[in-house]
Symmetry: C2
Subunit: 257 residues, 2 copies
């Protein structure tokens, strides 16, 4: 008899050793068969990067969760999805879940996020895909307050899927019981990039990235930044097609020849 | 007297040693002051990845092109833009140009491309930004046939800028004189990921990514894939905002609580 339980593929960017990915597996493991394929090493800020000039290894790890198999891959989150689909899962997964990330992926962070890189990859493969992020960087972050919300979103996506070419970027306020879930758009913004400058023992400079996020529309009340500030969980539908459709006509006038 | 020549910041993902980035600098150097800040090592497929857990170094290299300064950075294309703006350029650049990439960044490749990662970063910083890619992977690729087209697009962007939040992904057919320039949308598609599987000397498996691009809409006549097949240069306006606006209402109905 064919296995009709949903197959749930889970990854993250904080590595297989991060508490968040175990927590996500625990949250959804009664909903189907769970396979975790996550980076062997931290991959924060890896976006949709993939490994083109080097080899990858897979290692199955012992799992103490019923119905959950765990694998590490020596690459990026996108590598994890690609290699999982090609060499690990027994059938096409019904959903891809990524996270729970230790830290925010709201606003423009979707562009840099390894968590969301994996989600975009799942979406490109035609699989309903969702990224979950908690607004707390610590490896000791408390995920317990968001359990019911994560489970509800996961169950709804398993039951009804997502539109083609659309995935979800879910961000969760930290240290509070969320007051609800709000679908919204990403706030426009950017990072101020303050590089710390050091001198090595030979007197040569080197640099280390820091910086903070600037919300360019702090007055808007329909953005993820706004709803997160209201202690709500933000759900941003994200498109894998980056074409700026609204600019096509003007650009044609200027550049076509 | 203030310097009123445009400041042109150039990067790529094939590294400071790739012929394409030198070619691009040569193409535009009469249009302004040119500063090239490119990765010390190849960064293909690095998307918008940034270096969060390690330091970066800058090295100025000798340049044999009049009006062009050249720097290498030990990081990703996004690192190059961030560090250039923070620690190298004397004033905010008027434009960011990235490339010329050795290989295509059409269709869905915009998501994986380090060339376009740098362009998105320039755009987020409010700088008109354009990525150029030639559909030829070889380091011996011939860029000479596209000279006038690249120069025309660059001059137009320097003169008139680009809309806020919109950058350009320019792809150029190889080994032919382009028949024109066409503004268009990115073709939907994905990569079939065929991993080559090997055994190491100890008999343990490892994997190497290969694959090929599948165009999901080969009949469409308004996509970059179509116009490139017609020997035209494709210009896709790309948005830094990935929100799937058309899905907001349906998703609200399903997830708001």
């Amino acid at each position: 008899m064919a296995n009709t339980r949903p197959l749930i593929l889970i990854t993250n960017d904080d590595s297989i050793n991060a508490p968040g990915v175990r927590y996500l597996a625990e949250c959804v493991r009664t909903m189907g068969d769970v396979i975790v394929v996550a980076p062997a090493h931290p991959q924060s800020g890896q976006s949709s990067a993939l490994t083109v000039g080097a080899s990858l290894r897979i290692k199955e790890l012992p799992s103490d969760m019923d119905g959950v198999r765990m694998f590490s891959v020596t690459g990026t989150p996108v590598d994890c999805i690609k290699l999982a689909l090609n060499a690990i899962v027994p059938r096409k997964p019904d959903v891809v879940f990524s996270g729970i990330n230790h830290g925010s992926n709201s606003g423009v962070n979707v562009l840099y996020s390894g968590t969301m890189g994996a989600v975009l990859e799942g979406c490109l493969e035609g699989i309903p895909s969702v990224g979950f992020s908690l607004l707390h960087h610590s490896m000791k972050a408390d995920f317990s307050l968001c359990t019911a919300f994560v489970a509800n979103i996961a169950a709804e996506v398993i039951a009804s899927g997502l539109p083609e070419g659309v995935c979800l970027n879910v961000n969760i306020p930290a240290k509070v019981m969320p007051e609800g879930i709000k679908v919204c758009r990403a706030a426009r913004g950017y990072w101020t990039d303050d590089f710390a400058r050091y001198l090595d023992p030979q007197g040569n400079p080197f640099y280390w990235l820091s910086g903070r996020f600037i919300n360019l529309e702090p007055e808007a009340t329909d953005t993820d930044e706004y709803w997160l500030s209201c202690r709500c969980i933000s759900v941003v539908p994200v498109s894998t097609d980056m074409t700026a459709l609204s600019a096509l006509k003007d650009m044609s006038t200027r550049f076509d020849s």
